[in-house]
């Protein structure tokens, strides 16, 4: 019962703040409400028994990626930007209709599935550090190593792209 209340409150918060994150004109408010979306999602992960995932969601997403966004927004000194869909009513209508249609189809499809309560993961499958670390360095070692390779490539690419042209 408590679990359901927590889930629905977190889900409502995620939807509300993602709407603000998408539609508000001030980019700093966009990023800060996205932080709240990620906190709500971390709450959902924690409720479902995926402890490490919840921690990673807060540390990596809210702590690292969104700080990068804020940093760039303040570095480029972006103030209020355009109104969402402003200036092009037809394109805005078509885009919103497409997105809402796809979303409605997905919700409808999910509601057709037989509802089944999950289980709090216990023992070897619970999302704590030990089983996840074992799986990352065991059965999923190649993917893990390739992610680190990808991150190195991304760092080099970012430094190359953002460097000042020397002449």
């Amino acid at each position: 019962m408590v679990v359901q209340v927590v889930f629905f409150v977190a889900a409502a918060l995620a939807v509300i703040f993602s709407l603000i994150a998408v539609a508000h004109r001030n980019p700093v408010i966009n990023v800060l409400s996205l932080v709240l979306v990620f906190f709500a999602m971390a709450t959902i992960f924690a409720v479902l028994g995926m402890d490490f995932l919840a921690a990673i969601q807060i540390i990596v997403y809210s702590g690292a990626i969104l700080v990068l966004f804020l940093f760039v927004i303040m570095l480029l000194n972006i103030r209020k930007v355009e109104r969402i869909g402003g200036g092009r009513p037809l394109q805005a209508l078509l885009g919103a209709a497409t997105a809402i249609g796809i979303g409605a189809a997905l919700v409808l499809g999910a509601s057709k599935l037989a509802p089944a309560g999950g289980a709090v993961l216990t023992g070897a499958e619970r999302g704590t550090v030990v089983p996840i670390g074992r799986a990352l360095l065991g059965s999923h070692l190649f993917a893990f190593e390739f992610i680190s390779l990808l991150l190195v490539a991304a760092i080099i690419g970012a430094v190359y792209l953002a460097r000042r042209e020397s002449r």
């Binding site: 998408v22 930007v81 497409t98 999910a110 509802p115 992610i147």
Partner: protein, 115 residues
Amino acid sequence: MSPEVAIPISYTWVLMLSAVLFAIGMIGVLLRRNGIAIFLSLEIMLNSANLAFVAFAMRFAADAETAAAALAGQLFVFFVIGVAAAEAAVGLALFIALHRLKESIDVDRVNILRW
């Protein structure tokens, strides 16, 4: 090994939340013209995919014979987060370079290659 404690949340609810967040992010990607705002909406879409992975992880955790797939679902979320971090670093560097060139990150002003 087998899951004992059931939680009273259907995985279909998590899937529906994921679908709603996906639609919201897609509206942002299609309608915003500011590069950073498009990027933020993209992050929402990536996170809704993460929620779908989590939903099926909890679905598979309910059956004892598919319980190993529950762990794989969580691992995929880590990989998605890793790819999102790489994408954010490269994308924001692109926008810094673009801002240096055009004094703006409005994607409508990047139209040299447009037919």
